[in-house]
């Protein structure tokens, strides 16, 4: 299938989405510093391009299953920031009324779960249901490089291949399983593992959302059209801690990432400074309203039904 070239409208939307994710995450970290947030949070600062570019191609009928680091994926689907703020703040107006926290949300066809890899078999079942229905909906699962340590992933990939399930597995390889560098715990490569299950695998190292938009576009088309699984491996960079305040990486590595791998900086040559400022202003005002509404909502309460 031929895909049209990236238009100015697409570029604008990608920038807006990435900026929204970045700002949302930075606001969360700020709330954390102020002691407003309970528990923990996993931000995706630095990884925004993957979420923005991939979810651009999502159709409402597609099912998306994300993980502990799901804020970017959720926001890139265009779902309300207010609900996610409220969820993280433990409010009754949250995505799932404070029951799950952001690691465990469900909104329309979007889900997240905090158990690494557990939802990959579930996604194969969802994709099988889509195959039974004979429509063109697909299932997208996001995992990290560290998730490849989980056995459930292999059971699922085998089944996805046997069933020829329309599953798009997006691997966000940020090089670290929590604190452990990938090289220390992963033998071989993801592409070899994909090959073992006879599943097509594609890889990119780009952190440029326009390149990624193209990369994901053809992947969505392939799974949607051919009704078969596909594994995408995207090298990305997590600028912040795994969760709040647990980063032992060399500050020099982080500084290099910020300077060389920032997906927002990539867009500086593409959009004028003034235009970027106007987008940013809109996003700031959207997020401020969302944060205010979430802040003022009532706390989650247990309804005793039994």
């Amino acid at each position: 299938m031929e895909r049209n070239a990236c238009t100015p409208q697409v570029i604008e939307r990608l920038y807006k989405t990435m900026y929204c994710i970045r700002e949302f995450e930075e606001r969360l970290l700020e709330m954390f510093s102020q002691g407003v947030l309970n528990g923990t949070t996993h931000t995706c600062v630095g990884q925004e391009a993957v979420a923005a570019a991939s979810m651009y191609h999502r159709l409402d009928k597609d099912v998306v299953f994300s993980n502990h680091r799901c804020h970017g994926h959720y926001l890139a689907c265009g779902f309300p920031a207010e609900l996610l703020f409220a969820e993280i703040l433990g409010k009754s107006t949250g995505v799932v009324a404070g029951r799950g926290g952001s690691q465990h949300i469900a909104h329309e066809n979007f889900y997240s779960n905090g158990i690494q890899g557990s939802y990959v078999p579930i996604c194969v079942g969802i994709a099988k249901a889509q195959a039974y229905r004979k429509n063109d909906a697909i299932t997208v699962a996001f995992i990290g490089d560290g998730t490849w340590g989980e056995g459930a992933v292999y059971e699922a990939l085998n089944l996805a291949s046997v069933w020829q399930a329309p599953l798009l597995l997006i691997v966000e390889d940020n090089g670290y399983a929590q604190s452990t560098p990938k090289e220390k715990t992963m033998a071989g490569t993801i592409s070899e593992r994909a090959a073992a299950f006879n599943i097509e695998h594609r890889r990119t190292e780009s952190h440029n959302a326009v390149d990624l938009w193209d990369f994901f576009g053809s992947a969505f088309d392939l799974v949607r059209g051919r009704r078969q699984p596909l594994i995408l491996e995207v090298t990305t960079n997590r600028f912040r801690a795994h969760s709040k305040g647990d980063d032992d990486r060399d500050p020099a590595i982080l500084e290099k990432m910020w300077n060389e791998k920032c997906p927002l900086k990539e867009f500086e040559p593409l959009l004028s400074k003034a235009f970027r400022r106007s987008i940013e202003k809109d996003v700031q005002s959207y997020l401020s309203d969302a944060e205010f509404a979430a802040d003022n909502a009532p706390n989650a309460m247990l309804e005793v039904t039994e």
């Binding site: 469900a106 990959v120 078999p121 579930i122 969802i126 249901a129 059971e155």
Partner: protein, 335 residues
């Protein structure tokens, strides 16, 4: 009709009457038809909806959860109850949690069938009754069919529910005739059903005699208690009232508590390990409500806290045996 035939007919009916029903499991398709032959013939009748699965219990339950999220009604089979541990993450952290943690936005109408229990000489990893491990998982039903009821109908009730269920079939029960199929004249015991949704059965000698002891049990040990009750009535004129619940993760019914109150004593038997199990908790719950009327502390009997040995002599010593149950009943009644 036999226990196994009833389950098979139940699955057949659910496949026939509801095209959202999908059956998944290892070795379940024809000509093999499942390790215990429960699904024999079904893949021939419904080739698109009876699916042969790899030896991947996590994927079997996981994929079933995914199908359920999308509106299908999967019935999956875990060959031996012991293998449920391989799917435990899917059951505990996904299947049973999704409805509540996603704020009721999704339902998981899933039935996980599995063959449990010992007395067959299959050894430590093919003989267990691990259901107590799942009884304190919120969001999950644990359902035990019995020869005193209609296992196929019970499966249909589980299938109708929007909650995931662990449906524990007993290997020894499979070839047994259902009590309802026995001729009236041959049967000493009469069976009555209370509760509508997940039924509870009362099994009692056909007599007006006063009840000497209430025994609460489920699964295959309930069949054993039934046989013992028959013998005791014929040989000793002792009247044992057996109560057989089918939904295990619930408090004792009001009628059960009342029966214990009026009898003053009770024995609760399970095949699973006695320590920290269903019977112990049941005993606490009955005691809480019937304390004033009890003439003796409620007695509990289950498997010893060692793995289930392969040798039949070891099984006899480790699992609650007929002899041990009978002895315990005698002690409580004092004959």
């Amino acid at each position: 009709m036999k226990y196994l035939e009833s389950i098979r007919a139940g699955i057949d009916h659910l496949l026939e009457s509801d095209d959202r029903t999908i059956v998944l499991g290892e070795d379940i398709v024809d000509p093999y038809g499942g390790a215990f032959k429960v699904t024999k013939g079904l893949s021939t009748k419904y080739p698109d909806r009876v699916l042969s699965m790899p030896i991947s219990e996590s994927a079997i339950v996981g994929a079933s959860i995914g199908l359920a999220m999308e509106g299908f009604k999967p019935i999956c089979e875990i060959m031996f109850g012991d293998f449920i541990t391989l799917a435990t993450d899917q059951i505990v952290n996904s299947g049973s949690k999704f409805n509540w943690m996603y704020n009721d936005k999704v339902m998981i109408p899933l039935v996980i069938r599995t063959a449990v229990g010992g007395y067959r000489g299959y050894g430590p990893t093919h003989s267990q009754s691990l259901e107590s491990m799942f009884l304190n998982v919120p969001g999950l039903d644990v359902i035990s069919p019995t020869i005193f009821g209609d296992p196929g109908r019970l499966l249909a009730i589980a299938h109708e529910s929007t909650k995931p269920a662990l449906f524990i079939e007993h290997k020894v029960s499979y070839p047994k005739k259902l009590a309802s199929g026995r001729s009236k004249s041959a049967g000493i015991l009469s069976v009555t059903q209370t509760l509508d949704n997940f039924p509870e059965y009362r099994v009692l000698p056909t007599t007006d005699q006063k009840i000497d002891l209430v025994v609460i049990a489920y699964g295959e040990v309930a069949s054993m208690v039934g046989e013992i009750a028959e013998e005791l009535f014929l040989d000793e004129e002792i009247c044992v009232m057996l109560i057989v619940p089918t939904l295990l993760n619930q408090s004792p019914s009001e009628s059960t508590v009342n029966l214990v109150r009026s009898c003053g004593k009770a024995l609760i038997v399970e095949e699973g390990h006695e320590q920290f199990g269903w019977a112990s908790h049941m005993s606490r719950m009955v005691t809480d409500q019937a304390f004033e009327s009890l003439t003796k502390p409620i007695s509990v009997l289950g498997a010893k806290q060692v793995p289930i040995g392969n040798a039949s002599s070891l099984e006899e010593q480790i699992l609650p045996s007929r002899a041990l149950i009978k002895k315990q009943i005698a002690t409580l009644i004092g004959y």
